[in-house]
């Protein structure tokens, strides 16, 4: 079966601001992804051991996510959530918004750098409240009662004003921009969304390789009836 993807009009490039809009949209989605990552870390590290009290309860899940495998899974989870997800989002938005990697990309790159730096701040902010999030998921209360804890907000504010953190923000901005430019280039060059690209690639792999069109033998006229 031949799958025909939705047509993308040629020579109908989106406006210059579409790249900026895509960067902001991906940034907004990535905030939710960072929150999801925080929840998953709590789940993998603490929730499974605290919820499943009996060894035979949910044995399969405990076998999958028992410590120390959980901490190893977090590294792979970071690869998927923080690298592949934004890449595929930029890939998708480049096709949908018709962003060209060969057009004017300076505003888009600047927006990506700013969004990347802001995402690092968001990540640090969520990290500062990680204990509270863990308490919320495990006991239903956002505030910590059992331990004396300094104010997370003041710790977060003091940590982001250091020169090293500012350098990390610049670095994260550059990383996010090259990630975004690569995703946009993939979308721009392929002209299809990641779903259709993958589907076409899989189906082309299933099909038998078609032989090249042979040259007509001498003396035979192709298409001409005798």
């Amino acid at each position: 079966m031949t799958v025909i993807p939705e047509p993308v009009p040629e020579n109908d490039e989106g406006s210059n601001l579409n790249g900026v809009k895509a960067a902001l949209a991906v940034g907004g989605i990535m905030v939710a992804v960072y929150l999801l990552s925080s929840f998953l870390q709590v789940y993998e590290n603490e929730l499974l051991n605290s919820v499943y009290r009996y060894p035979d309860e949910f044995a399969f899940l405990r076998g999958l996510f028992q410590s120390p495998w959980s901490t190893d899974l977090i590294d792979w989870q970071d690869v998927v959530l923080f690298q592949l997800v934004p890449f595929l989002l930029f890939f998708y938005f480049a096709v949908r918004m018709r962003i060209s990697a060969l057009g004017r990309i300076i505003p888009m790159v600047i927006a990506m750098m700013v969004v990347g730096a802001c995402l690092l701040v968001v990540r640090d902010f969520i990290g500062a409240y990680q204990s509270n999030i863990s308490s919320l998921l495990l006991s239903g209360s956002f505030t910590l009662h059992n331990m004396s804890q300094s104010n997370p907000l003041s710790g977060f504010l003091s940590s982001i004003s250091t020169p090293l953190e500012i350098w990390f923000m610049i670095q994260q901005g550059v990383i996010f921009s090259v990630l975004g430019v690569t995703g946009v280039a993939f979308g721009s060059f392929s002209g299809e969304t990641p779903y259709w690209t993958l589907r076409n690639w899989l189906e082309s792999g299933e099909e038998e390789p078609q032989p090249d069109v042979m040259d007509a033998p001498q003396g035979v006229t192709v298409g001409a009836p005798d």
């Binding site: 120390p68 495998w69 690869v79 690569t182």
Partner: protein, 154 residues
Amino acid sequence: MAAEERYVTKWRGLLPRLVLASLTITFAGELLQRAVTGLLQYQNYSSTTFSLDIQIVVSSAFFPFAVFALFYLSSRVRIDLGNDYVAVAASIFLGTLVVFLLFGLPEAVSPGYAGAGSSAVDSVIQTTAEAVEGSIFYAFVGFAAILLSYRRRM
């Protein structure tokens, strides 16, 4: 047609060159990092913060060199990025992954590296994840450098 023929073919010409280039550049970067770290240990600078600062400075100084090297290579090899974008990214990824695994895996399986309670398998899983993460990052950077060269040529 004549202009198209000047481009290298996807797998025979492009893949080995870019794999070799990314492998060489990453290998040089890793060696530089280890040399600086070893030099600091030789000079009895045991401060972790200072070592981290030095590593950041070294990687920051190496970063533009790697970008320029790939930029220059792509302008010499004449890559048709519009058709071979997947092969370009995959080549850079593979080259860097080989280097990171080459440096990371022997450490991961060596006795004493794994922390208390974690086996060598856990260390290998963790090291592989870190290698893949670093390789994807290098692939993004290298692809952006080649895209820059391609844009300039267009």
